[in-house]
Structure formats: structure tokens, C-alpha cells
């Protein structure tokens, strides 16, 4: 058994910068480089691409990254693990094998991890009596949206990744495993940990470390409240986990890279997008973030210890995406003097246009950009006199409709203001209506979901 495992965080989202990952691969002395490419909406976007072309449905970046990194990864002995397979990990794995062959990397083993997609099992599950109760709204009316479902993926644990690594994989490409399973999997594999009570604290530690690094630069100075102090963020270094068999770990980054890693930047990400910090529920286990201790043993180095946890939950989260109408949106800006009065008048005129055009809207929303777009009622408005002295004020309108034709009316109404509107009104390029995929989060029993791992060899 290894006495330490080093894992790098290669990506925080689909669209992240690749150069910090290349820097980690070159200088990080890594056993593993891990990539999270998926967000809640991503699966529905990918499913739509797969419907158009059965060979698509994975995150293209995931394949590009592997192509760019496999030669150095093989030379360094670094394994590459991602969830970029999206809704079609098989197609992604096949592309990666083809790329490896073209690069002359004979014998590279690619593990393909499936089992999270349940789109074709929904009716069976309904027939079995699974209620699909909406976790957020408590609604039991899933049957009302059933016909409009476009994607259904379960957040799965690291079992499939572990299986792939046990079969000698150099690259693992998975679907909707949890964001931090790409870290938990290799750690459990290297240390031989099992999903049982005896390992609950150590798995919780791996989950916690995975949470800290899964958004890459978000724990090394990105998104920071102390942004002004963070050095050379455009050249930021992504984080490294160095983990020991007892569940303690140190975080670091490549020497000389931009950004900063200290107890504060780690705290900033500890609290990000979590609910009850005593119960951070992941498919691999439950971590108690209130148990751990942070120390700074050196510059750009943080030690994480004493994490406690509980065994994995009986239920897994299933997120179902369904088509839910359209959004039409417009934006215009108004100059000093009387910028605010101009925006108010333009809002009135748009509402009159909607009436004249017979707009059928489910919801109409206006923002005064510069005043209340981001915080709504949480932002105190200046009095009218002060607002009219502002250099500029914007008006943003967003409307939810059932059909694209109705959403298109928003764009037309906004363009009518080119001449009907107040003097000085300026517009950018009018925005096209966009389709809405709403999400239906629910829970399903773990025993219904089994990971399937297959090895393809170049």
C-alpha cells in the first residue's frame, strides 16, 4: 500500500482554463489528475446534443484534455480521472482510445464508467412505486412533467472508478459520478478503503478534501472576498491534495504559480454550496465539516485533519431535467441626465407593447441595472433625485413563456423602443429566446443503481 497519494485538481467546470492543469501535470509530481466537468444543467445540454447526434453527449473538453495530457501523464505515471463522459461516456472513451492510438500510446487502458443514466428506466421505477417526490418543493406531481423529461442521471459513488483503477486503468472517464468521487475513488483505491463503518471517518476526510479542491482555483484565491490581495490570479495555480492513510491531508500548489493557498482561502471554499455543514451528504459517505481542523504548516500549504463522518446514505440523488418553456430577454441602457426616469418610462412602454401584442407570459421580471439587478429587494434604492444623477441606468426585462413565439415578442417589443423609447436609449445586440430545462431533484434507493465499468485498450 502506498504511504501517500498525490492528486491534482485539473478543472473546476466545463470551460475552465487548461494551462494550470498542464502546469500541475508537469510539476505536481502527481499520482492522479482529476477533473470535474459537470454542473446541474450540463446533463440536459449534453442529452440534447446526443439526441441530435448519437456520437455526442460527452463534454468535448474532456476528450481534448486527455489527448493533450496522455503523453506526459504516461511518462510521469499520472492517471487521469474525469466525469466528462456526461450522458455518453462510451463515445468519449472510444474517442480517447482513438486519440491514444494516433499518438502512438499503445496499451493505454481507458476505463469507461456507466450506470448513472436512468432515462430509460423512469417508467419502471414509477411502476415499482418510487414516488419521485421533489426534494425542493415536496411536490408529488412528477407525472405532470413525465412527457417532457429530457435527462435523468443519478449522482453515483466512486465504486465504478475504483473498479476501473483495480483493472489497471490509466484513464477513467465516467458519467454523472458525484463531483468529488473523482477524488474519493483514487484515494479509496490506493489505500484499500471499503465503504463500511470502519472507514467512515477516512472516507469523510477524502470527501472533504474533494469538496475543497473540486472547483480548482476556487480554493487558491479564485472567487475570493480578499480578491485585491490575491497575486497573479490570471496565472493561478490549481490545488494539490497529498493524502495519508490515516485520513489527514495537506493542500498545496505548484511553487511559483499565482494565487494563494492558506487557511482563509480553504475556509472560503469549505462553506461553498453546502447545506448543513454537519452532514455533507455524498454518495460515498457523509462528512461533518464542523469536526475538522485547519493548520498552516508553511507558505501556500494547509493541513486538514480530524475529519469525522458517517457511512454512505441509503438514498441517492437523482436529477431529472424536463423541457419547461422559453425565456425572452432584453437589455437597454439610459444616460444621464434623468437616467432613472428614462428607464422607468421605458419599462412602462414595454408593458404597453406587451399588452398591444397580446403577450402570453407566465412571469414578467424587470431589473434596473445599476440599482437592484443582483440583490432585488435586498438592495436599498436611492431616492429618485439621486438615481437621476447616476451616469447611466439599465433596464433588463426577462419573460417566461410556454412557446418560442411568445418569447420572441419580448425581443420585438424591446426593438420597438429604438424609436418609441426615451431619448438616448442604447441597445446591444438583441438576445435570442432560449429554451428552459427545469430540474426535478429527487431520491432513489441506492440498490437500484449499479455502476458498470469496462476497459478499452489502445
Amino acid at each position: 500500500m502506498k504511504q501517500t497519494v498525490r492528486l491534482g485538481s485539473g478543472s473546476g467546470f466545463w470551460g475552465d482554463a487548461m494551462d494550470p492543469a498542464m502546469e500541475l501535470l508537469g510539476k505536481g509530481k502527481l499520482d492522479y489528475l482529476c477533473f470535474d466537468f459537470l454542473a446541474e444543467l450540463t446533463m440536459a445540454l449534453l442529452q440534447r446534443q446526443k439526441l441530435k447526434n448519437p456520437q455526442m453527449g460527452y463534454v468535448p473538453d474532456a476528450v481534448q484534455y486527455m489527448k493533450a495530457m496522455m503523453p506526459a501523464a504516461r511518462a510521469n505515471g499520472t492517471k487521469l480521472i474525469s466525469n466528462g463522459g456526461g450522458v455518453n461516456p462510451r463515445a468519449a472513451a472510444q474517442r480517447i482510445v482513438e486519440d491514444a492510438q494516433a499518438l502512438g500510446l499503445k496499451g493505454i487502458r481507458v476505463a469507461l464508467v456507466e450506470g448513472d443514466g436512468v432515462l430509460d428506466r423512469i417508467d419502471d421505477m414509477l411502476a415499482q412505486g418510487i414516488p419521485f417526490t421533489n426534494m425542493e418543493t415536496g411536490s408529488t406531481g412528477f407525472r405532470d412533467v413525465r412527457k417532457r423529461v429530457v435527462a435523468a442521471n443519478v449522482y453515483t459513488d466512486s465504486a465504478g472508478i475504483i473498479s476501473g483503477l483495480a483493472q489497471g486503468a490509466d484513464v477513467v472517464i465516467a458519467g454523472r459520478v458525484s463531483d468529488n468521487a473523482v477524488y474519493v475513488g483514487p484515494i479509496m483505491h490506493e489505500f484499500g478503503w471499503r465503504h463500511d463503518d470502519a472507514h467512515a471517518d477516512r472516507i469523510a476526510a477524502a470527501i472533504t478534501l474533494g469538496h475543497i479542491v473540486e472547483c480548482a482555483a476556487a480554493c487558491t484565491g479564485g472567487m475570493s472576498s480578499r480578491f485585491a490581495e490575491m497575486p497573479r490570479m490570471g496565472m493561478v495555480g490549481f490545488p494539490i491534495i497529498e493524502m495519508w492513510p490515516d485520513g489527514t491531508a495537506e493542500l498545496s500548489k505548484v511553487a511559483g504559480s499565482g494565487g494563494r493557498l492558506d487557511a482563509f482561502t480553504v475556509k472560503e471554499h469549505m462553506v461553498y454550496e453546502i447545506h448543513d455543514p454537519r452532514s455533507y451528504v455524498m454518495p460515498d459517505g457523509i462528512a461533518d465539516f464542523t469536526s475538522l481542523a485547519l493548520e498552516e504548516p508553511g507558505p501556500d500549504r494547509v493541513r486538514v485533519s480530524q475529519v469525522r463522518g458517517r457511512p454512505a446514505p441509503e438514498m441517492l440523488k437523482l436529477v431529472i431535467g424536463y423541457q419547461d418553456g422559453w425565456i425572452g430577454e432584453s437589455m437597454s441602457f439610459f444616460p444621464w441626465p434623468y437616467a432613472y426616469d428614462r428607464a422607468v418610462k421605458a419599462k412602462q412602454s414595454m408593458l404597453e407593447r406587451f399588452e398591444r401584442m397580446g403577450l402570453e407570459a407566465e412571469q414578467i421580471h424587470f431589473d434596473f441595472v445599476g440599482l437592484n439587478t443582483l440583490h432585488g429587494p435586498g438592495a436599498p434604492l436611492p431616492d429618485r433625485g439621486a438615481a437621476n444623477e447616476l451616469n447611466e441606468v439599465g433596464l433588463r426585462c426577462a419573460v417566461k413563456t410556454r412557446t418560442v413565439e411568445e418569447a420572441e415578442k419580448v425581443r420585438r417589443a424591446a426593438s420597438h423602443l429604438w424609436i418609441m423609447g426615451p431619448g438616448g436609449t442604447s441597445f446591444g445586440t438583441p438576445m435570442k429566446p432560449r429554451p428552459v430545462v427545469s430540474l426535478w431533484p429527487t431520491l432513489v434507493p441506492r440498490e437500484l443503481i449499479k455502476a458498470h465499468t469496462e476497459i478499452l485498450e489502445a
Binding site: R226, E273, Q363, T373, L374
Partner: protein, 103 residues
């Protein structure tokens, strides 16, 4: 002069579905007790008015001197269907820094 949370805490916020989560971190360990006193579900709901339709919970983290504020049905339906510009609530949590510091 009234102090605000801005004076004693930092914030990072984001989303999970239609829930906005915001972590408030005390600037110093000495600021933590005042941070705990200053943030309550009632104050958070009052601040955001009808932008929060669900319930609010505040969870203390004594080990890192932070409070996690979880606001349900707070993002206009969630990132994929909200009509707001700040679809994922990255900005929304920053308004918490306007809450008055309770001495």
C-alpha cells in the same frame, strides 16, 4: 455609528437547485460571536423580502468561525429557469453583508 456585517465578515455564495447557500466567515476569531448574534433566519428573510419564498436556516461552524446560511426557494426557480441575471446566486449572498452588526 452602526456597524454592518461587512465590517466583521466575508461571504461566498452559490446555488443548489433553487436553494441559495451563503457562507459567512468572521474576519477574526474575535468577530465570530457578533457574527453569530447578527445572522438569524428572520433577519435574512426580512432582508430579501419576496426574493426568498422558502425557509432559511443558519448553521454555525465554530471550528472555522463561519455561519452557513441556507435559503430555500430563493433563486427564482433555480439557475436553469430563473429570470434573474444572477442565475447561480454568486452575487445574492453578498447582500447579507448589509445586515447590522449586533454588538
Amino acid at each position: 455609528m452602526t456597524h454592518l456585517l461587512r465590517d466583521i465578515a466575508y461571504v461566498r455564495s452559490g446555488d443548489k437547485g433553487d436553494t441559495c447557500t451563503a457562507g459567512l466567515i468572521a474576519k477574526t476569531p474575535e468577530d465570530y460571536p457578533a457574527l453569530l448574534r447578527s445572522v438569524t433566519p428572520e433577519k435574512v428573510k426580512a432582508l430579501y423580502g419576496d426574493w426568498i419564498k422558502g425557509k432559511v436556516n443558519c448553521y454555525p461552524m465554530d471550528n472555522i468561525q463561519a455561519v452557513v446560511v441556507v435559503m430555500e426557494q430563493a433563486l427564482g426557480g433555480g439557475a436553469t429557469r430563473t429570470l434573474r441575471l444572477d442565475q447561480t446566486g454568486k452575487s445574492l449572498g453578498h447582500a447579507l453583508l448589509r445586515l447590522p452588526k449586533v454588538e
